[in-house]
Amino acid sequence: MAIVKLDNLTKVYDRSHGAAADSVSLEIGHGEFMVLLGPSGCGKTTTLRMIAGLESITDGTLSIDGKVVNKVPAKDRDIAMVFQSYALYPHMTVKNNLAFGLRRRSVPRAEIEEKVQRVAATLELDSLLGRRPHALSGGQRQRVALGRAIVRDPKVFLFDEPLSNLDAALRVSTRVEIAALHRRLGATMIYVTHDQIEAMTMGTRICIMNGGRVMQVGKPLHVYRRPVNTFVAGFLGNPPMNLIPATVTDRDGGRSVRVGEAVLRVPEKRAPASMPGSPVTFGIRAEHVALTAQTGEDTAEIAGEVVQVESLGAETIVMTRLAGVENNFVARVAGDADVTVGERCRLFLDLSETHLFDAQGQSMSTEPNERTA
C-alpha cells in the first residue's frame, strides 16, 4: 500500500500542441481504488504513464509515500501495470511471463516457484502454466496480465483500460474479479478507463479528466449527482444529462429560467439568484423526467413531442422535442411505458434535481462540493 501524490503534474510532448496532461493534482490514499475517467485524448493514460515512470514529467512533482520519484526509473518505483493489450511476452510460457519480473529482482528460485504457483492458483491459471500466450483466450490472457502484476506484490497497481479488449460478458466478470482482488489485497490501485460503468462500479473515487485537466474528483455517486460543470454533467451518465440553453427571467427573484417556451423555477439550493437575462444552461438527468403525472411542489410540467423511443426491456429511453428548444430532451421511464413516436406528451420534471450552469459552464449550485479542478 502507498500514498501517491500528484502535484501539478504536467506533460508536454510538443509545445505547439499544448499539454497532454496539464497541472494534474491528485492524492490517492492507502488502499484506495482511484479511477481516471475521461474521453480519448483527455490525458488519463499520459498521467498513468507518468506515475508508472514510462513518460518523463515536464513539470510538477510526483511522490510515492512522501518521496519524490520524478527522476526514479520505472523499475525502481515498485509499481506494476496491467496494459490494455495485456503485453504478454509471446515467446514465453505463462509461467515464465509470471516469473520474468521476479527473476530480474534476484528473488530466489524456490520463492519464485512458490509465488508463481500461488498466484496461478488464485487466478485459476494452474493448468495453463506451460502454454504460450497465443494459445490462450482473451480472458485467460487478461488473467495472466493480472497475475504478472500481483506476483510482484508491488506498492501500487496501475491499470490502463484492461477490459477494453474483452467481450461484454467477460468484461463484467473480470470487473468483478478486479474489484474482489482490490478488496483482498487492499492495495493502492489506479485505473484508467473511458467506460463509466467500470468507473462507477469499481472506483472508491473517480477523477474525471478532459483536455489534460482534472475536471472533478470525488466518490462516484457524488460526482454523478453533483457535477461541477457541463462537461462532467454531459460525460457521466447514460443517457447523458439533458443540457438545454436557458435564460434567467425576472420572476421569483431571479431564480426562474426560461427553457424554450416554458418558465421553470429552480430551487434555491441549486442556484443563487441571478441577473435577469443572463444566459445559463439548464440540466436535468433523464431519470428525473417522468411521463406520468407527478405531485410535489418541485414538480414542473412541460409539453413535448416524442421523436424517438428506445425500449431496453427494463427501461425505455424516450427522446422528445420541446417547443422552442433545438436539443432533444430525454426521459428514462419504465420498460412497460406505452409511448409512440410522434405523439404529444406531458413531461414532469423533478426540479429539486435540476442543475444550473453559468455561461462558462460551471455549476451554480450552492451546495458544498468535493474538490474540483
Binding site: A52, M81, F83, A87, Y89, F100, R104, R148
Partner: protein, 272 residues
C-alpha cells in the same frame, strides 16, 4: 469435383517441383560422373557412380581450405551483420531521436548502388588498411554490403512489435540493453531467421568482391575454388558439378534449420 481440383493442383505442383528441382538433380548427377562421360551423354544417369570425386575435390583440389575459408568469412559476416543490423533496426524502430529517419534513409539508399561502383574504392580502402587479401577484410566488406538490407527487413519487423511489450519489460525491471536481448530479439526471431538465411545464401555464393579482394590461394573462398576448374580453353564440368554439390550442402542445412522461422517471418502479420 473436389478430387478433380485436387488432382489438377497436384499436377501443377509436380510440374513446378520438376521445373525447380530439375537443374539441381541434373547437377547432382553430373557431380557423380566424369567430364568424359558427361561429354558422351549430357543427361545419362551416373553409371558407375563416381563417389571418389568428392574426396578427390576435397583433398586434391584444395576444397577443404576453400570450404573452411568460406565458413569462417560467411559465418563471421552473418553473425556480425545480424547482431549489428538487429541492434540498429531496434533503435531506428523503437526510439525517437533527431535524424532517425535521415539515418535510415541514408543507410537504405546505399542499396541502389551496384557493387561495381564501390568495388574500386573498396579495393583501395582495404589496401590502405592492410586488409587486402585477408579474410578479415572480406568479412568486413560482406558486413557492409549486407547491412542495409538487413536493417531494412528487421526495422519493419521491429516496428510492428507493440510498444506495450517494452513498457511491460521496463516495469518488470529490465534495462534497454536487457530488453533488446530478452524481449525484442526473441520476438523478432522469424525476421532474424529470414535475414540469416538470405545473408548466408547471398554471401556463400558471393563471387565479385571475393575475386577482386582475394588473390592468395590460402584465403580463397568456395566460389573462387569452383572457378579454378574453368580454364582458358577447357573446363572440367564434372569437377565443377562436384564442387557445386559440396558448396550447396551448408546452404541446404541452413535453410532446413531456419526454414520454419523463415516462413513465419514472411507471413507475419498476414494471419492474426
Amino acid at each position: 469435383m473436389a478430387s478433380l481440383k485436387r488432382s489438377i493442383l497436384l499436377l501443377i505442383l509436380c510440374g513446378y517441383t520438376a521445373f525447380a528441382a530439375g537443374p539441381f538433380v541434373w547437377a547432382a548427377m553430373l557431380s557423380l560422373r566424369t567430364t568424359t562421360e558427361i561429354h558422351l551423354d549430357h543427361f545419362a544417369l551416373p553409371d558407375p557412380i563416381h563417389w571418389e570425386k568428392f574426396p578427390d575435390a576435397w583433398f586434391n583440389s584444395n576444397y577443404a581450405t576453400y570450404f573452411l575459408n568460406s565458413v569462417q568469412v560467411v559465418v563471421a559476416a552473418v553473425l556480425i551483420v545480424t547482431i549489428v543490423g538487429a541492434m540498429a533496426a531496434h533503435c531506428l524502430a523503437r526510439y525517437r531521436f533527431r535524424f532517425n529517419r535521415l539515418i535510415y534513409f541514408v543507410l537504405f539508399s546505399t542499396i541502389i548502388f551496384p557493387p561495381q561502383i564501390t568495388i574500386i574504392s573498396l579495393f583501395q580502402v582495404l589496401v590502405n588498411y592492410g586488409l587486402y587479401n585477408s579474410k578479415l577484410g572480406l568479412t568486413l566488406v560482406y558486413v557492409a554490403i549486407q547491412l542495409p538490407l538487413t536493417v531494412y527487413i528487421l526495422e519493419s519487423f521491429f516496428a510492428r512489435i507493440p510498444a506495450d511489450l517494452f513498457d511491460a519489460a521496463r516495469m518488470d525491471g529490465y534495462s534497454d540493453w536487457e530488453i533488446f536481448w530478452r524481449v525484442a530479439l526473441p520476438v523478432a526471431l522469424p525476421a532474424v531467421a529470414t535475414t540469416v538465411i538470405l545473408n548466408f545464401i547471398l554471401l556463400w555464393n558471393e563471387f565479385l568482391f571475393a575475386v577482386v579482394l582475394i588473390t592468395e590461394e590460402a584465403n580463397r573462398t568456395l566460389p573462387l575454388g569452383i572457378q579454378r576448374f574453368i580454364g582458358d580453353t577447357q573446363e572440367d564440368i564434372g569437377m565443377i558439378a562436384t564442387g557445386l554439390m559440396i558448396a550447396i550442402i551448408p546452404v541446404v542445412v541452413i535453410y532446413a534449420f531456419f526454414s520454419e522461422k523463415l516462413i513465419q517471418g514472411m507471413t507475419a502479420g498476414a494471419v492474426k
